[in-house]
């Protein structure tokens, strides 16, 4: 177990190194360099050269990299010249709001996806199964933003059931105190994830239903409900945990579109605005944060898998 842990963490560190190199490299893909992108086409050559020197972009790449990593280790993710705000404080301001959205959406999608996926597996090839399969196919093929647009059209513009905008507030508590405004963002976010969980649960439970341990449980006289929830559900849960860790990039991506459609003041919206403004320090900081979260998610998923499933540990 310890050996596995050390190997897996070591692998993550190597990946982290590559990621930081790629991320810093992204700064240099802007035609004319990051400073030209930031100052715009009207800046004089002198201004660009001055700022290049100021920010250290005239130094060799490895020196830039070492200085940048040194700053990162001190918790300094850069400074947004457009917003006149350090990236760290921008993240501290926006990240909690995005976490609220992602957590609520994920919970809602799990609450619907897991039982409905199990229902589909038990009642496979019936009308109910086909209808739900159709719904999840829609979830797979429909872009997140289109689902969000439709929900706004139906429930905000046509019927006025819910407000078309997410809660506009700087504090998490105030956002949570407007649950009506949260409904549409959370539902449209959860819909795409629902498709993922229900498809996965359907195939996972169908695989498990023919396993030996299920036959054993039935032979011992366990009720169908106990077989389903006590045995199959618990075994499928292991893979759901892994899948949760692996879908972190998808979660981040989904949040960007939801936040743009509903003008939800989270990290995704800030990232989008930074992209429009070519605020490269913010882009860099956010990308790095999301990437580190992904690597951590994968690592935790693998470790939890090894803890929960002894077969992984000993193979």
């Amino acid at each position: 177990m310890i050996g596995y842990l050390v190997r897996r963490v070591g692998q993550s560190l190597i990946v982290l190194f590559f990621v930081t190199v790629i991320t810093l490299g992204l700064v240099h893909i802007f035609p004319g360099g990051p400073i030209r992108a930031m100052l715009g086409p009207r800046a004089t050559v002198q201004q660009v050269a001055y700022n290049n020197h100021l920010y250290g972009f005239d130094r060799p790449f490895y020196i830039q990299y070492l200085k940048w990593v040194g700053q990162l280790l001190h918790g300094n993710l850069g400074f947004s010249a457009k917003l006149n705000l350090s990236v760290t404080s921008l993240i501290a301001q926006d990240l909690p709001k995005t976490i609220v959205l992602v957590a609520l959406g994920t919970i809602v999608s799990l609450v619907f996806g897991i039982p409905l996926g199990m229902y589909q597996a038990v009642k496979r090839y019936t009308v109910g199964d086909y209808v739900l399969t159709g719904v999840s196919f829609l979830g797979y093929a429909a872009p997140t933003f289109f689902v969000a647009l439709l929900l706004v059209e139906w429930f905000a513009v046509d019927t006025h059931v819910f407000p078309p905008f997410a809660p506009q507030s700087t504090s998490v508590l105030q956002i949570l105190s407007q649950p009506r405004a949260l409904v549409l963002p959370v539902v449209s976010y959860a819909f795409v994830l629902y498709a993922l969980w229900s498809r996965f649960m359907r195939s996972s439970v169908m695989d498990n239903l023919v396993q030996d341990y299920v036959r054993t449980a039935r032979a011992k006289g366990a009720s169908e409900r106990r077989v389903l929830w006590g045995h199959i559900f618990r075994n499928s849960l292991i893979s759901i945990v892994t899948l949760l860790g692996l879908t972190l990039p998808t979660l981040v991506a989904g949040a960007i579109f939801i936040e743009v459609v509903f003008n939800y003041p989270g990290m995704g919206l800030a990232f989008y605005q930074a992209a429009l403004n070519v605020d490269y320090q913010v882009l860099l900081g956010f990308t790095l944060l999301a990437t580190v979260a992904t690597i951590l998610g994968n690592l935790l998923a693998d470790i939890s898998y090894a803890v929960l499933d002894p077969r992984v540990r000993y193979s």
């Binding site: 093929a141 429909a142 933003f145 439709l150 059209e153 990232f271 429009l276 999301a290």
Partner: protein, 321 residues
């Protein structure tokens, strides 16, 4: 069908066929049949594929979309070059079957023009990323050792960066046209393909016919290009199919954010982006949202159906062997 396998692969490989022939003989009923009338893998695959009705529906929808986007503009002629503000946001009528958008472009004609971009970029990005990913994965898996570890950690790193942030940054930097867009999508997409093909290669390289190439003095490039890649063709085609759907979705996502192909070129996602601005107004401009959104969903579901059926077709082929 968008992806056509390179010529020559459907004949199977000489070494492959001779080594596999004995394995088929004791196979009971299927053995003599296949021995009497050897059918190419693609023909057998097509038979299984054609049994899947959803897949045929998928092909019909894709064919319809292709005709609609590329032949449609020849029949339903509209002005998609200059704006016409007199017609801005006009309701659907005899002269404009699906109304107009905020700049007076006929919405039905726009749907065709936008569809051209979406389909072209989707297919091209899929081809580029699958070609590169296949070569990268096959080489990495075949060479193995330190090189393999290094190449795969690069893939891991690329896959750890949430793709949408990466693609947004690239789009902001390059203000893409169609051609650049293809590469921006492929830059992300080949990583997943590479990992998959590498896994496939790890099992293929231990096969006798690959060993045989080494023994008779064939070069590594020959083993990879003539033996490993053709034998992974099932996985490759299935991946390419899904890649088309994913690329269309990614392109439309970028278009929706206003970071996609630059005007006057448009795509289905960019058309939706225009609709967002008029959603809050008092009148219901449904024609700005539904046509483009439904076109995206229909195309992607159809392509996914085809991909699912192809996967079944190739898997069944393996089981019957």
């Amino acid at each position: 069908m968008a992806i056509i396998p390179p010529p020559g692969t459907d004949h199977g490989d000489l070494v492959d066929a001779t080594l596999l022939a004995p394995a088929e003989a004791p196979d009971g009923s299927a053995g003599p049949l296949t021995a009497a009338k050897p059918r190419s893998m693609l023909v057998r695959g097509w038979e299984v594929f054609a049994e899947n009705r959803l897949a045929l529906v998928g092909i019909a929808v894709v064919l319809f979309m292709v005709l609609f986007c590329f032949v449609g503009p020849l029949i339903y002629k509209t002005n998609q070059v200059t704006t016409n503000l007199n017609d801005a946001l006009c309701t659907p009528s005899g002269s404009h079957l699906l109304g107009c958008d905020n700049l007076g472009y006929d919405q039905l004609g726009r749907l065709m023009i936008g569809g051209q971009t979406s389909l072209e970029v989707g297919v091209a990005a899929a081809i580029v990323s699958v070609l590169f990913g296949t070569l990268y994965g096959a080489v990495s898996g075949f060479v193995g050792g330190v090189v393999d570890s290094f190449l795969m950690r690069v893939v891991d790193a690329g896959l750890s960066i949430p793709y949408i942030t990466l693609i947004i940054i690239l789009s902001v930097a390059f203000h893409p046209n169609k051609l650049i867009m293809i590469f921006i999508i492929a830059v992300f997409y080949w990583l997943g393909v590479a990992r998959l093909i590498r896994g496939e290669t790890l099992t293929l390289r231990t096969r006798e016919y690959v060993q045989a190439v080494k023994i008779i003095g064939g070069r590594s490039s020959r083993a990879v290009l003539r033996h490993i890649v053709p034998n992974a063709i099932g996985t490759i085609i299935v991946q390419a199919t899904f890649a088309v759907a994913d690329s269309i979705l990614i392109l439309s996502a970028l278009g929706f954010l206003g970071l996609g192909v630059q005007a006057p070129t448009t795509d289905w996602g960019s058309m939706l982006s225009g609709g967002l601005n008029y959603l809050q107004s008092s009148q219901n401009y449904w024609w700005l949202i539904y046509p483009a959104g439904i076109a995206i969903i229909l195309t992607c579901i159809a392509v996914n159906f085809i991909g699912d059926a192809l996967r079944d077709a190739f898997e069944t082929r393996l089981q019957r062997r």
